[in-house]
């Protein structure tokens, strides 16, 4: 328990930060060029004085920190502020102990050895390190990299950089349920393939790839297997030995930990060699130089330990809430499509397409629920999400898709409110839609010849 004066000081500093917090509406990044096309724009603006805060249903974008994680981090932000790489005094020793404890906590969650965990600034850095690092290290004899079309932007962009360096990259297509075709993967692997990168759980449609099978294939063909497990770690059981994964990216702020920290699992047996991206004093086994941020690492470790303890409870609860949401919406309104495989998925990420309703207008109508119409970090382009395009969704359905994220802190009331509001607004928007009128009259929209003036 803290003394009154400390409390007052802490409250004062926190209050100063929170009053200046801006609310960015979910559609803002995708809407910037929308103005140029003359479409409606979801402007970012501050909440008005008595306006209520929206419900948070965007757990794939980021998650609130668990109070227990914040509690673990506080001493290292306030008192134990030493550099963990200082070897000569107690400040360094205590920080190092904390960092190593956090490393063990992260390793235990994924069934790895603590020496195989490297702390990074997030899953984006981990992805960059693994893809560019492995490809460049083995480039003398292996010039081919395989990934999928539904990967996160950082993976696709890293592969694009590799292409400009002279590598061959194959972007494998996915089936209409979002999963990759294993037979096609076997055929795509060449003798000069160095790396296969497939994400465990997709952040937009929530599908769970068959990682174990892919791992077995890669092992048998002597190819390194990297997986971006940012959305999967702590939510579904993961064991890197069982899944035969050689590299795995972990993100702190997706598992109720702090933002700005992540980890990379780099297998030691058989050894995976990486060319380091960040040069410097040789910290983190030379793979990622730079002072490890002790409070953030401690937060990540605490988040991982919590996730391990709460995994079963959270999974049962999230599944229950997800079924509740989907049942409610789908029984009340027709013409709603769930994108992605119905079984091979993580239940907390639901991507629904509402036919004959425009996605951005639905998001604006649902302004008191914080939702997203796709990935928060897809570039500011007006095109519908590339993930939805890769699974073969029709252009018009892809424009009207909304992603609902459910997490540890979601309540039944929030889910019910979201479902009711969604049903209400979809009905209202469809009433106004001439396309919907035509469909009700039985006209097949695909047979219409839209006249050109």
């Amino acid at each position: 328990m803290m003394s009154r004066s400390v409390t007052r000081k802490l409250l004062g500093s926190i209050r100063g930060v929170s009053t200046s917090a801006r609310l960015n509406c979910p559609g803002a990044p995708a809407s910037a060029p929308a103005a140029q096309r003359g479409r409606e724009l979801i402007k970012s603006r501050e909440l008005e004085k008595d306006e209520l805060r929206p419900l948070y249903m965007d757990f794939q974008a980021t998650t609130p920190m668990d109070p227990r994680v914040l509690d673990a981090m506080l001493p290292y932000q306030v008192n134990y502020y030493g550099n963990p790489h200082s070897r000569t005094h107690a400040y360094g020793w205590e920080s190092e102990t904390a960092m190593e404890k956090a490393r063990k906590q992260v390793a235990d969650l994924i069934g790895a050895d603590p020496r195989e965990i490297v702390f990074t600034s997030g899953a984006t850095e981990s992805n960059n390190m693994s893809i560019k690092g492995v490809a460049r290290f083995y480039k003398a004899r292996k010039k081919h990299v395989i990934t999928t079309q539904t990967e996160h932007k950082c993976v696709l962009d890293s592969c694009r950089v590799l292409e400009s360096e002279g590598f061959d990259v194959t972007y494998m297509p996915v089936k209409s349920n979002g999963l990759i075709d294993l037979q096609q993967l076997v055929e795509t692997i060449r003798p000069d393939t160095s790396l296969v990168s497939v994400m465990t759980v997709n952040n937009e449609i929530g599908v769970k790839q068959p990682i174990k099978e892919i791992g077995t294939i890669c092992r048998s063909k002597n190819v390194f297997f990297h997986t971006d497990a940012a959305q999967a770690v702590g939510k579904i059981p993961i064991n890197v030995s069982e899944l035969k994964v050689d590299l795995m990216s972990i993100s702190g702020h997706k598992i109720y930990g702090p933002k700005g920290v992540g980890a990379l699992f780099v297998r030691r047996r058989p050894r995976v060699r990486i060319e380091p991206l960040q040069s410097g004093g040789g910290q983190e086994r030379g793979l990622r130089s730079g002072t490890v941020p002790t409070p953030l690492a401690v937060g990540l470790g605490a988040a991982c330990e919590l996730a391990q303890q709460e995994m079963e409870y959270d999974h049962a609860r999230v599944s229950m809430l997800a079924t509740r949401l989907v049942q409610k919406i789908m029984t009340e309104i027709p013409d709603v499509v769930m994108n992605g495989d119905p079984d091979q998925r993580y239940p907390g990420c639901i991507n629904l397409s509402f036919a004959y309703v425009e996605g951005e207008s639905l998001l604006m109508a649902l302004k008191d629920v914080a939702l997203s119409s796709g990935s928060a970090c897809t570039s500011a382009s007006l095109e519908p999400s590339y993930v939805l395009r890769a699974i073969g969704t029709d252009e018009d359905l892809a424009h009207s898709s909304i992603r609902f994220g459910i997490g540890r802190f979601t309540t039944e009331e929030e889910v019910d409110y979201t479902a009711e509001k969604c049903i209400q607004q979809v009905r209202r928007l469809r009433e106004m839609s001439p396309l919907w009128e035509m469909v009700q009259e039985g006209i097949d929209l695909k047979s219409i010849k839209w006249t050109q003036h």
């Binding site: 328990m1 009053t19 109070p67 227990r68 509690d71 506080l74």
Partner: protein, 114 residues
């Protein structure tokens, strides 16, 4: 021995719920209340004294964590920003239902918890 430890457990349970109700954030508050209730319910039939002691220590640590975290987040009454959308609708619904709900639930829906 058994009687005092039962009283201990109950008093710990009550303190945890009382402290959890003080969270200004709707999501943290509902999570803490729910998790505490479910955890105690799940471990209702544990008899082994060592396991019991372990669980009780964990509960005491959680109590300290909740107390610290409640202090950290500012009381948000003066900022209209922080009233959560759901609280208005829940409040309106609960007031209409409160007459028909059994007594214990009323305690949790009291104004102090919203």
């Amino acid at each position: 021995m058994a009687a005092s430890s039962r009283a201990q457990v109950l008093s710990l349970y009550r303190s945890l719920l009382k402290e959890s109700r003080a969270f200004p954030s709707y999501n943290y508050r509902t999570y803490a209340l729910r998790r505490v209730r479910d955890a105690f319910r799940e471990n209702r039939s544990v008899k082994d004294p060592q396991a019991l002691e372990l669980l009780l220590n964990k509960a005491r640590d959680s109590l300290a964590i909740i107390q610290r975290q409640v202090l950290l987040t500012p009381a948000e009454q003066e900022h209209g920003h922080s009233r959560h959308t759901i609280q208005r609708s829940v409040l309106s619904r609960s007031l209409s239902l409160s007459l028909s709900l059994p007594f214990p639930s009323l305690l949790l829906l009291s104004p102090g918890s919203l």
